[in-house]
Amino acid sequence: MKAVVAGWGMAKFGRRRATLRDLMSEALKSLFENTPNLSRDDVEGLVVSSNAPERSGQTNLASLASELINLENLKYITRTEIACASGHAAIRAAWFAISAGMIDSAIVLGVEKMWLPYPEAMLITDMEREWDFPQFWYGRAPSGFALCAQEHMKRYGTTREQLAMISVKNHGNALLNPYSQELRRRPKSVEDVLNSRPVSSPFNLYDCSARVDGASALLIVGEDVAKSYTDVPVYLLGSGQKAIGLSLSVMKSYADWHHLKAAALDAYRMAKIEPRDIDVAEVHDCFTIAEIIEYEELGFCKKGEGGRLVEEGQTFIDGDIPVNPRGGLIGCGHPVGATGVAQVVEILQQLRCEAGKRQIDGCEIGLAHTQGGIATTQSILILGVSVK
């Protein structure tokens, strides 16, 4: 059975005065409002993506979510977690359950509560006590990706300005997205990025995605029931995942993510498409360098030319291969468990021509990419309005 993404729901991202319950309720309500024919009796699966609800002192989120909309016909319920790629793990779980014939429909719900009034809460997710390095609490994600940037700049000549252009592009796109975080100031130029405070060289503040609260939802159903919910079925066409471990020491190269390239090849092969067939992409821009390396490994340009691709404007909304029209993690904020699901919400809106001011003309095939850890876990989904 082919699986179709048939509906979406979003809660506003940002520093929210809201609990996990509140955030999940908001995204679920939005999903039902946007999918008029969806009844809670139809829902047979519920997969919740959350990286660390333990921060709020809560586990077993899928059970909590089922209570929020009184799901009485559930046959499959679970939570997924592979760090920042948790959202893709949830979508894949729902897809597999439908393909296996176990269920006809599932809600995928991504959620993260990051802003809590006690500092211990942040420590829980900043800790990597089983990592390979005793001073982990200093740097974590910003420093890990900064090392990737250092090697990429040295090996391929990627410039500081090219990194900054990713931030300018994605902040600009986020202004067109009603669900993105609200910021008092957003960088409008390369200079604005370069003048923001240093975080971990070469990154300044605007090179980094911010931790925010958020939730996002999708309805995924079997092809045979999809027409009840949507006039434009958007199929899950292909996917690839690779992991090479967790620790920084397992990476042989910090500028070349061979395992991402391998995961992308698997996804393209499964979807029977080539990188040039992609009309729109949402990629994991946790830090500016990540988006540049992803262009290369996903095959949007040659290795080493990712910086030039953004410099030439080709990944802007009006470019040849628009990337992160939603605003990405940098523009929207990064509620970890909700991010991967929100990316697919954007792909769905683009393929259904519902993306408003962000709409890219003639979108038929879209790609979403996320990663967990310091690029060690990679995940790709390819969606399209027709099956090849």
Partner: protein
């Protein structure tokens, strides 16, 4: 509330890699080598990831290496920046704090192991310019 522990567990009660920290206390920088396939792993292991056996021996690593990559990290305003980097020792990539000033830090520079004693008796390692 007990504060969340920032440092790795080191005692025999808590970790089977206790020997690494015991060796470090005695001034030896060690890791595990598989007796089956011969591979030297970082970080140290209780099983060889290739052979999936426990035939591992502790081997001593050189206490000096080269700085492969580094970043100057300043996550919060008003805190002293910290240098974090990847130290290459015998082909291994060892992430660590680098005790060096921003003025003297340089890719490719030689670095030496530094053992730091924590208040509760535990030890951690870093690398610095001086032997």
């Amino acid at each position: 509330m007990r504060r969340f522990d920032q440092y790795p567990p080191e005692s025999e009660e808590e970790t089977q890699l206790h020997a690494f920290f015991q060796n470090l206390k005695n001034g030896r920088f060690t890791t595990t080598r598989c007796e089956g396939c011969g591979k030297v792993w970082w970080p140290p292991r209780t099983i060889c990831p290739n052979c999936i056996t426990s035939n591992l021996e502790w081997v001593e690593l050189p206490k000096n290496g080269r700085l492969k990559l580094y970043t100057v990290c300043q996550r919060e305003k008003g805190v002293e920046p910290v240098v974090l980097g990847i130290v290459e020792i015998g082909g291994l990539h060892i992430p660590s704090k680098i005790n060096a000033s921003i003025e003297e830090i340089e890719e490719g520079m030689e670095l030496f192991l530094e053992i730091e004693n924590l208040e509760d008796g535990r030890v951690i390692y870093a690398f610095s310019k001086q032997e």
